[in-house]
């Protein structure tokens, strides 16, 4: 479903991604871990072209997306993204946060989008918050709304950029639960996270990134039990205390 070939990204002199080759199948839950500055967020952001790759190719369903002729906006409609800092629209109610894109992009009528939003809010356990504003929600609630907002466009792929890193510890669980349910429903997911428990339990595949390359990739359990790469060993020994 997603194929990445020799992906490179530089910011000025700094080479953040140094050639990544990766293939992600439909239904996979790929968890990307690695130390900060390893390029994992940049990799994720390249997948929906929030960052423009400096070099290399990205294919979604066989279509090369980093091509000037491609309509980026149509590609992005197929991919939902959840951000570390939620990025809900503070001037809109929760309902309007969710229905804005589907209605504006003529994917649904107002009524359809409204019903879909209620359904999604029920799924993330926030059906009573439809008329609230983002400022009235807790961090965990905001992130669950952000997930619902992304799902409202009925994407084929969901990208998560450290979705629990900005949350108070007691709110991490509620967001991970929603993500777990989503994974179980068969959604293709790419998740950048520091939640090793989630990686082990929900991930179908683990990518360990460091210094702009994928150092190791495989089944989460195998990597956690028996990391092959020296850097992976070092990293895991630090985070799995």
């Amino acid at each position: 479903m997603i194929t990445v070939k020799n992906l490179k990204k530089t910011f000025g002199e700094l080479e953040v991604l140094c050639g990544i080759d990766e293939h992600i199948e439909k239904g996979e839950v790929v968890v990307v871990i690695g130390p900060s500055g390893s390029g994992k967020s940049t990799f994720l952001r390249c997948l929906n072209l929030l960052e423009t790759p400096t070099e290399g190719e990205i294919f979604i369903d066989g279509e090369k997306i980093n091509d000037p002729k491609v309509d980026v906006n149509l590609i992005r409609q197929k991919m939902g993204m959840v951000f570390q800092h939620f990025n809900l629209f503070p001037h809109l109610t929760i309902m309007n946060n969710i229905t804005l894109a589907p209605v504006l992009l003529k994917k649904m009528t107002k009524e359809q989008a409204h019903d879909k939003a209620l359904e999604l809010l029920a799924k993330v356990g926030l059906e009573d918050k439809a008329d609230a504003y983002p400022a009235q929600l807790s961090g965990g609630q905001k992130q669950r709304v952000a997930i619902a907002r992304a799902l409202a466009m009925e994407p084929e792929i969901m990208l998560f950029d450290e979705p629990t890193s900005a949350l108070d510890p007691e709110m991490v669980g509620e967001v991970l639960d929603v993500m777990k349910n989503l994974a179980e429903s068969g959604m293709t997911m790419v998740v950048v996270t520091h939640e090793m428990g989630f990686a082990r339990e929900v991930g179908t595949r683990l990518l360990f990134m460091d210094q702009g390359v994928v150092m190791e990739s495989g089944k989460p359990a195998e990597i956690f039990e028996n990391p092959q790469n020296e850097r992976t060993q070092k990293f895991l020994s630090k985070v799995l205390k």
Binding site: N73, G80, R149
Partner: protein, 234 residues
């Protein structure tokens, strides 16, 4: 003050009030002046917002000629006195064009205000977190939709007080239209002053009129701002 001086002060006041407003129906000059000031200010504010928005987009654009145009525009307007601009636009640019005088004046004030409004709007747009744009784009909205539906509504809320300030300045700035022969509040009071040799009464009246107009506006805008801040409630 004893009774006598109070009385003579009062009768002096009465006399100059009579000369300034009642004799020869001079109050009509003030009323026409108020109407002109309001008319010119209102149209100028509208023109100023439109120009300001367009220039702000030019200044934020990645397209170099547009960016340069925006910068030169702002530089020239901010670098020259508004009286000079008004007179150039009135006596040079629109010299041989047959449009109502007050409309030409409004255009001049709008062009002037646009430069300041553009900087306010630009600051407002820049004040919105990049994550908002990214969230909009990640949902598949294009740049224009993201700007109109997500960034601008929030920016406008943030810059509302600064915009109000600019409008207040603009209303008072129109007091120079007398330079091109229009009879606004200020000019009306000048006229009365030279006809009656009364200085204090017409000038104080002018100050009070401007103050009341702006006070009413401030109260209305304050109510509007309260409404805009609805989503901030916790």
């Amino acid at each position: 003050m004893d009774l006598m001086t109070t009385f003579s002060w009062f009768s002096g006041f009465q006399e100059s009030f009579e000369k300034t407003f009642i004799r020869e129906d001079r109050y009509k000059l003030f009323i026409d002046g108020i109407l002109l000031t309001l008319k010119v200010s209102l149209l100028a504010v509208c023109i100023g917002i439109i120009i300001g928005f367009l220039i702000a987009l030019c200044n934020l654009s990645k397209h170099l000629p547009l960016k340069l145009f925006g910068k030169v525009y702002t530089d020239i307007i901010r670098g020259t006195p508004s009286v000079t601009q008004l007179m150039i636009i009135y006596f040079v640019i629109f010299a041989s064009v047959d449009i109502d005088k007050w409309i030409i004046a409004s255009i001049a004030f709008g062009i002037n205000s646009g430069a300041y409004v553009s900087e306010i709007i630009r600051a407002g747009i820049l004040s919105i977190d990049k994550g908002q744009t990214e969230a909009g784009r990640s949902l598949g909205l294009n740049g224009r939709q993201t700007m109109m539906k997500i960034v601008l509504p929030q920016a406008l809320k943030n810059i509302f007080p600064a915009l109000c300030n600019e409008f207040i300045v603009l209303i008072k700035e129109t007091a120079i239209v007398g330079y091109v022969g229009l009879m606004d509040i200020q000019k009306a009071s000048d006229f009365v002053k030279s006809a009656t040799f009364e200085a204090a009464m017409p000038l104080l009246a002018t100050a009070v009129i401007y103050f009341v107009i702006i006070k009413i506006l401030t109260v209305c805008l304050g109510l509007l701002e309260k409404k805009l801040r609805k989503s901030d409630a916790r």
